[in-house]
């Protein structure tokens, strides 16, 4: 089988599988990462995202399939021969070396002349805004500073690909937010391809050019943050990224890329659909709470329901509505609205903000 080589892909995974004993960690992944792109592998723990990253770095070898970096097959190359560098979880700074020695390590391994090493170390520390800690030991630095040292150390070799394994996991929330923006900026400045692993969907949405959502060793959906958020293609993605209402229904009529769907309660709604879904199929309609409109005025259309609970969330109220579905439907309404528990309401949402898909997980488990 000859895999198509897309011109200009920075990293290309073709049918990559990884098995640890009887456990399948990564189950046949195909992935093309573009040069200079910030791509995030997002998923819950155990979904195979870290194993995938480690295979790109060379710390694990795929059981089958191939990995190409800049067109060259690296599947059988050890880490020290790959043109990638990694920012490790917990930073992995060398405790017996000063910050400068840590950062210059890669250049020493490349046997560059001492003067050039010193210059580039100073440059790299400047880049991560840590010019005054060169002679200190990593143990004397704060978590955020250690994070920057790890970043400088990984970037000093000017890799074409930078791998980041949950690098912000150990930082507190405020620092994490600041570092997210900084990483994004760094990605544009140095022009390297960033492959970022995280289980934090907010982080992924903030930083990424594209997100690959992973679960159980496979990529479920890949796309821009907006695509992933606005048009989830499965129950898992809709649930994992942000909050989503999932309504059970049957397709009544298909019109190009959208459809009219009869919900379990009897109401008819419009939603975008993915390819291949036809009339009379069971589907789930996904709609975000912020796109649901609730009115106390009785009307002909819309879904009839009753307010089950009102939750105060500061900027808005979250209504939990009983609309005859298995789960309560969540809707955000402006703070100061006068909804009370038990009130009869009508719920609507624009077809452009809803998306319908087959309940694949249900099929899987059958």
């Amino acid at each position: 089988m000859t895999a198509p080589i897309s011109v200009g892909a920075a990293i290309e995974l073709a049918d990559v599988r990884k098995q640890f004993g009887a456990v399948v960690a990564v189950n046949g992944i195909d992935l093309n990462i573009r040069p200079g792109e910030f791509l995030t592998l997002l998923g819950p723990s155990g979904c195979g995202k870290t194993t995938t990253l480690r295979m790109i770095g060379g710390f694990e070898w795929p059981s089958s399939g191939s990995i190409r970096i800049a067109g060259a097959d690296v599947s059988q190359l050890p880490p020290h021969k790959r043109p990638v560098n990694t920012v490790f979880q917990q930073y992995a700074l060398f405790p017996h070396m000063s910050v400068a020695k840590n950062v210059g390590y890669g250049l020493r391994m490349a046997r560059l002349p001492g003067r050039e090493i010193n210059e580039r170390v100073a440059e790299a520390l400047e880049m991560v805004r840590l010019p005054n800690v060169a002679d200190r030991n990593p143990g004397e630095l704060s978590g955020g500073q250690q994070q920057r040292v790890a970043l400088a150390r990984a970037l000093i070799n000017r890799p074409s690909v930078l791998l980041l394994d949950e690098p912000l996991g150990a930082l507190d929330l405020k620092l994490r937010k600041a570092m997210q923006l900084e990483l994004k900026q760094l990605n544009r400045e140095v022009g390297a391809t960033f492959v970022y692993v995280t289980h934090d969907q907010e982080e992924a949405l903030t930083m990424s050019d594209r997100i690959a959502v992973m679960s159980r060793g496979a990529i479920w959906q890949i796309g821009s943050p907006a695509e992933i958020y606005e048009r989830p293609a499965s129950r898992f993605v809709a649930d994992f990224i942000g909050q989503s209402n999932l309504l059970e229904g049957v397709v009544e009529q298909v019109v190009e890329a959208s459809a009219l769907i009869r919900l379990a309660g009897g109401a008819i709604v419009g939603a975008a659909i993915s390819d291949g879904i036809g009339a009379h199929e069971d589907v789930l309609v996904s709609v975000r709470p912020e796109n649901v409109f609730v009115s106390e005025q009785p009307s002909e259309g819309g879904i009839k329901g009753r307010v089950a609970d009102v939750v105060y969330l500061g900027a808005y109220l979250r209504l939990l509505l009983d609309v005859g579905q298995a789960r309560l439907l969540a809707a955000n309404v402006p703070a100061g609205s006068s909804f009370v528990s038990g009130a009869e309401v009508v719920v609507t949402f624009p077809a452009s903000k809803a998306v319908a898909f087959r309940d694949q997980e249900a099929v899987d488990t059958m």
Binding site: F59, P79, H80, F88, L93, F94, H96, M109, G139, A154
Partner: protein, 269 residues
């Protein structure tokens, strides 16, 4: 600290505990203290109380050619056995830490066993081994005998240290372009060195005052403990106290250094 004084029963228990701890330490160290005191006594026999103090016996000991030869030999054997133990123990520790292989638990057990065996078992076993294989007894056979249990000390010390080193440090080195050998020399080895030295020092101490195994495996020359032992059999002479104190002193210093090294390398983490 937790205040316990408010509870009388508990503080009674604590007093008893403290007292028993003191007794144990007294039991361990009082004989040593007495020997040290006697080694400075001006009397020709061990009598209490000590009348006047002198360093005369150290002078006598130091200028006794037999004792001197014993010291030199003990040092030589100690360094050789510790050196061999460092080499073999460190390599075994690396294998245990890095690789998964069949019989790993067995290897670990076999490497630790010699230190738990009574010296007489090791001595008899190795003696019969050497005589069966036609290996002539000499200082070399003593070194081999000592190395068997010295390995254990280095191995335990290094294995414990390696377990503390995060695995991703080696990966970080490889990631930054270090070949496995360079990654070892620039990262793993410097981080393990304190444990290697500490294990080596303890091994040296154990070898320096070892007597049972030495007795079975010795050739013509006598180590310092054997010289002392032989002298005592002929009858007491006060310079023996001084020689014994030397052994105590060397052991004490080596163990102190090992402890300090281990502690400072741990706190540097």
């Amino acid at each position: 600290m937790i205040a316990v004084s408010a509870q009388p029963r508990r503080s009674l228990g604590r007093t008893a505990l403290n007292a028993s701890v003191c007794l144990v330490f007294l039991f361990l160290y009082l004989p040593l203290a007495v020997i040290v005191l006697y080694s400075f006594s001006a009397e020709k026999v061990n009598v209490w109380p000590i009348g006047s103090y002198t360093t005369h016996w150290y002078h006598v000991m130091w200028h006794d050619p037999e004792v001197r030869k014993g010291i030199m030999l003990s040092v030589r054997i100690g360094l050789s056995a510790a050196g061999l133990a460092i080499l073999l123990g460190t390599l075994t520790a690396l294998a245990i830490d890095r690789y998964a292989f069949r019989g790993k638990a067995l290897l670990r057990f076999c490497a630790v066993l010699p230190i738990t065996l009574p010296g007489i078992v090791t001595g008899v076993a190795m003696l019969s081994f050497f005589s069966v294989t036609g290996f002539e007894l000499s200082n070399r056979t003593i070194i081999i005998g000592h190395t068997t249990f010295c390995i254990t000390l280095v191995l335990n010390s290094v294995v414990a240290r390696l377990a503390q080193i995060p695995r991703n440090l080696g990966e970080a080195a490889a990631d930054l372009g270090a070949s496995p050998l360079r990654a070892f020399w620039t990262v793993t080895f410097p981080l393990t060195l304190p444990a290697i030295i500490a294990g080596g020092l303890l091994a040296f101490t154990l070898s320096f005052d070892e007597i049972v195994v030495t007795l079975f495996l010795k050739g013509r020359d006598a180590t310092l403990p054997l010289v002392i032992w032989a002298r005592l059999r002929r009858g007491f002479s006060p310079d023996i106290n001084a020689a014994a104190c030397m052994i105590v002193g060397v052991s004490f210093i080596a163990v102190m250094i090992a402890t300090v090294i281990t502690r400072s390398s741990r706190s540097a983490q």
